[in-house]
Point group: D2
Chain length 394, copies 4
């Protein structure tokens, strides 16, 4: 028997829309026992909420996100608001007894994330954080290869998450540039994704050494633009002054994993030409695995001694139905899923966790582990010494 659960979505930006699509797709393509029912959308901009509700089939829209918490027909709250609001909303939703699906990063500070994780653990509801790249079948398959010993013991993990959305100095000042609205810079936005892959694939990180820099020190301020708004400037806006960017444009870090593996991490929001370059290379004692999210449907795998050495080399492995859960979308190999499908996989996990079939991943607990590493990177950069994330997680 199938039952359903009402979804309350907060936010209608890139991620709000993305969640809406993912809930719809997951409901159709996965054989879920509990199916999401589009119940309500909240956005301070009511007409945006109404438009999304209409388009994606939500029953109603509201300008007040607290309405969702009071509504008994809403069982799960999806939080895609600006990062500065995550904590307040998540805590309120937990308090209201709703399952919580919160976009990353969890909060602007590690202390806040810790508070959220503690509340979540205490709540008894299902909680998840949107580090969605771990839901890519290629990444799931990478983990399977590791678990099955195909790569041998993991000895090295190198990862990068670079984009260029702020590489142009004329990109205006926004909430992303401020400590009080964004927390860290590229680390909060992109670096956390790389950390989520590192933790998922190579395990806990014992210690980090890092350095960061702000490449574009000042950016133009557009009059009349809200600081919580991202995206292209309003054409009517006039630039009359600049403001100081308060957080880092790029970061580099060394990673010492608990299992002895070495690693490194780079993250940049000013790396020209990169659009979604979330990439890793894993070396093990039996093989090497390479991935790049800009070609999300393939892995490059080298296995020592897989075949005669004169015929050996990196294999480009295309994803297919044998790589779960690709087959939910397509029965044919190499036909390719997209970014939104990956988000639907995340939602399907959420639904299955709500149904008690699996443990949610990444939970607030897992999200906290990511934020701890990010915090350790920031502190290491500030203090010029190795920092152990484990000493920060509280």
């Amino acid at each position: 028997m199938r039952s359903d659960i009402g979804v309350g979505l907060i936010g209608t930006g890139f991620m709000g829309r993305c969640h809406a699509i993912a809930f719809r797709t997951a409901a159709a393509v996965f054989p879920l026992t509990i199916v999401p029912r589009m119940e309500a959308v909240a956005d301070v901009n009511l007409s945006a909420a109404e438009e999304v509700a209409h388009r994606f089939g939500f029953a109603r829209a509201t300008a007040d996100w607290r309405d969702l918490l009071d509504d008994p027909s809403v069982g799960v709250v999806a939080i895609t608001s600006p990062n500065v609001l995550h904590k307040e909303m998540a805590l309120a939703a937990l308090e209201a007894g709703k399952h919580v699906y919160c976009e990353k990063p969890m909060a602007l500070s590690l202390a806040d994330a810790r508070e959220m994780a503690a509340a979540a653990e205490a709540s008894g509801v299902v909680h998840m954080v949107g580090y969605n790249y771990v839901a890519n079948p290629a990444v799931i398959f990478a983990r399977k290869l590791i678990d099955e010993g195909v790569l041998g013991k993991i000895i090295h993990f190198r990862c990068v998450n670079d984009e260029d959305y702020m590489a142009d100095p004329s990109v205006p000042y926004s909430w992303r540039c401020r400590r009080d609205t964004a927390g860290s810079g590229t680390l909060a936005d992109l670096g956390g994704h790389a950390v989520s892959l590192a933790l998922y694939l190579a395990g806990p990180i014992a210690s980090v050494s890092a350095r960061v820099s702000t490449v574009i020190a000042e950016r133009p301020v557009l009059d009349g633009e809200s600081l919580t708004r991202s995206g292209p400037p309003n054409a009517a806006s006039a630039v009359t002054r600049t403001a100081k960017v308060e957080n880092e444009d790029q970061a580099v870090a060394l990673l010492q994993f608990e299992n002895g593996a070495l690693g490194s991490l780079s993250s940049s929001r000013v790396a020209w030409g990169r659009k979604n370059y979330l990439a890793f290379e894993i070396n093990g004692t039996k093989g090497t695995l390479i991935f790049d999210q800009e070609r999300l449907n393939e892995l490059r795998l080298f296995e020592a001694g897989a075949i005669g050495d004169d015929r050996n080399g990196f294999r480009t492995v295309p994803m297919g139905p044998e790589h779960e859960p690709y087959g939910m979308f397509l029965p044919a190999k190499g036909h390719q899923i997209g970014f939104n499908d990956k988000k639907a996989i995340e939602v399907a996990r959420l639904m299955r966790a709500i149904a008690g079939e699996i443990h949610p991943y990444p939970s607030f607990h897992d999200g906290l582990a990511v934020e701890s590493v990010i915090e350790a990177i920031e502190r290491s950069a500030a203090e010029g010494r190795w920092i152990e994330p484990g000493t920060l997680a509280g």
Copy 2:
């Protein structure tokens, strides 16, 4: 104002499921004036129909596809049944005054396709054929580059559509191997997609020279397997005999375009390692463009003199919101759409055509042009001489 139209879906296989997802996704991500409403699913296997109806939100299921035609709540019929049934169903749907969205190939013979196109032209309804790769934003962008003259005059078009789903000789005999159920072999299944790209990008084909071959002459017959069924064999099936494959495993053809360009086409269902290798290279007097559906979110473009020659080379152009309609799915470049999204773009075209906003493409008329080229290739292979598709289209 938005209105809706009832969808009647025939078939629940790969393409049936794919249509169901596409209708749902298109309804949400595109700002349609006429929105698809999931009305009914038909499949001779009623439980399959019921399962799809339940999963994808159709109001009801039936074992008799003719029910859809009698149902006034159904406005558009999507035909994803085995190829042998396309003609009968399409003609009946047209007769019933429904809009028709028919999977490719249109029919098993050119004569049948011609009859279907004539009926469609006479009908006054909207008709489309599922040559969906022309709906990929990368392909649409390729056409835009050509139309804008970026490549100059087109002088060469080379295309391939290779897969390996029948490369293993133990893949059993099926309806795909028979003339009376499949018509041609790789040409009907894969070659038509390559032709659809050729016609869309390089224009009408004046003449072809071709050769085909059947690589695996006989295949094992599985007892108890229906000939209309494809997919992996039932484990309980026993092989007691083999049967002769009646159509081609691979084909090669030269293409003489009306505009003077030369070209070639290859198609194979027995090309090991290829999964969805629908690829083309276009040479123009000002540049070259390369595409491969196995990396569907990128194009490789060379422009003569775009920059100083010592810095020139093929650019790998990632798709993004500036390549319509990628932006309907994602606001960020390089994040990638998937196969199913491309099919949703096709459905959105269908809906917009029904709303009278655009001409449908590819219509039955366009589909007939594809089938004419395929027929010309088959005849050329049989007769060992150049054949003009234009003389076959009736």
Copy 3:
């Protein structure tokens, strides 16, 4: 014991220089029993001959190539003159009892090539034609994989040789544009290389169907420029008129191999962006092999069932010492040889053939087979029907 043999080199252009480097390199890196001794260089431009002699260590220079034939210290003649001169020089060298190493194409017409091959067969000396891409370790390894059955039975061979050196319409009229100085166009210059790979890897070609076209019908004539000269125009030259290009800029052909495999060939000298795109894809009943000379140190190989299907994919195999004779140049895999090294491999073959250790390949007999296919392609294009190269070779 090692002995040596005097080399007489005719021509000092791209290929003349390339031969000079190759003789020097081969002498050092290969353990030859007969070593080339740089004896003399001939060029109508005596100062060019002297410069090359000085640079590459030849004992003397001459303006008259016939001097080499009269010289008993010259044992082998390397012919790198303009194509129109190959026949006369090769016949004279054979007549003089010299071993002959002639650049491709052998001659401007099949009749001439046939005469040269007959003279060579009758001569008792060693004769080779410079279809050097068959000497690439990657190509030799491809042949080995085929011979060992790794690919199974060959069913398809697709090849291309595209460059863009005449894509710009301002490239001036030259000897390459004339029938009486160049014979065919892209077929003679580039297409023959593709044919040489086809014959080497997939065997004799039974029949071809082809079409050709001249994209740039007229080219500017530079006053004061010799028609036998290629390369960039003299800056002082003034364009006062244009002349009609007499041969094809591009060609496409279907190939029916004697062993039943199908194939196709494209060749263009006007394909923007391509610099040395000599590429092939071979499908066999057990695997697929892909090569591109623009990345000459690697092959892409797919083997059916090499490993579990969820880990299978095309392997990028880097060349190394296990791929003969790469190890003559470098003991370390993946460090890469260059174009000139490949030519040195060809020269080493020549030397070993002179020492009686191996059969020369490609001999004038093998070269004639290439020219026969080129001639068949030209005739097929002219007559619009399938042509059997075997009926042309005399």
Copy 4:
């Protein structure tokens, strides 16, 4: 007028052979004013010395390298002996007034390298260290792009030098595993190359933070195998015990450049599948540049705003005659040089420096800068803190 200079080569291994080829090739393909004359080869194994002398045209062979220093016909000494011998030989050669061309690393310790650099500076002769990858035309072109401002201000430099030649735990214990014969492990062998590129392209390094690890702690000892010998074991050898590996298999480091750029470096000799993966990515404020020595003839370049954004992307730029000094080897773009050609470019620099035409690069002074960074990486790894190479160089 051209003169010549006698070359005395010490060592006949991979690099000895490679130098021999390079001297011969450079003499022919470059228009040098001072040309190398093959004078003598020294190796403790006299028959190896004789074989190389014979093959590569050296006038004589000796078992005692000091013979070269006493020989007035030798003007330049090339040192390719095991690393442990570099210092003694280089100092003696400088003392003897010979020009010195020493393979990398300069020595086993920074103190030794410093002593060598000081002696070299005081000597008045030409001195060079074999960090040859800076001589690749692609790398030279990368530097040119940076110098011309095409990338804007450099903000990030990520580099890797990974191979897998010791990834197999059965690779026996050798001199490479010992501090007293090799100094550091992957850093001395591979990491130095990455550092040489970092210094050449992004400038001096102010500070590093690093960590290293030895993955395979013990390796089998082959009886009867010399510790100074590398390469595959003698088949007759029996393994009776293992010995402890004394230096690192892999290293990771953060790089703080003096110009403000951040960076990272990885080096491994146990990274399965990598053969010559010397790779870098440079981000500047105007573009990004990517290189991988495993495809040594191409660069990937992204330039912000080079063309309309919908057509922009990374360009794969093939090397050609416009990228100096590629044209010395080949007049045609995309035809590709090899590893040995790159070494010939290094030798040509040496010859031109001896002729007084250019400053030698990398000189012993430049080599010392590399060794200082390597030493800083080692110390940082040992001490767990940031180390400034500048404080180490003496």
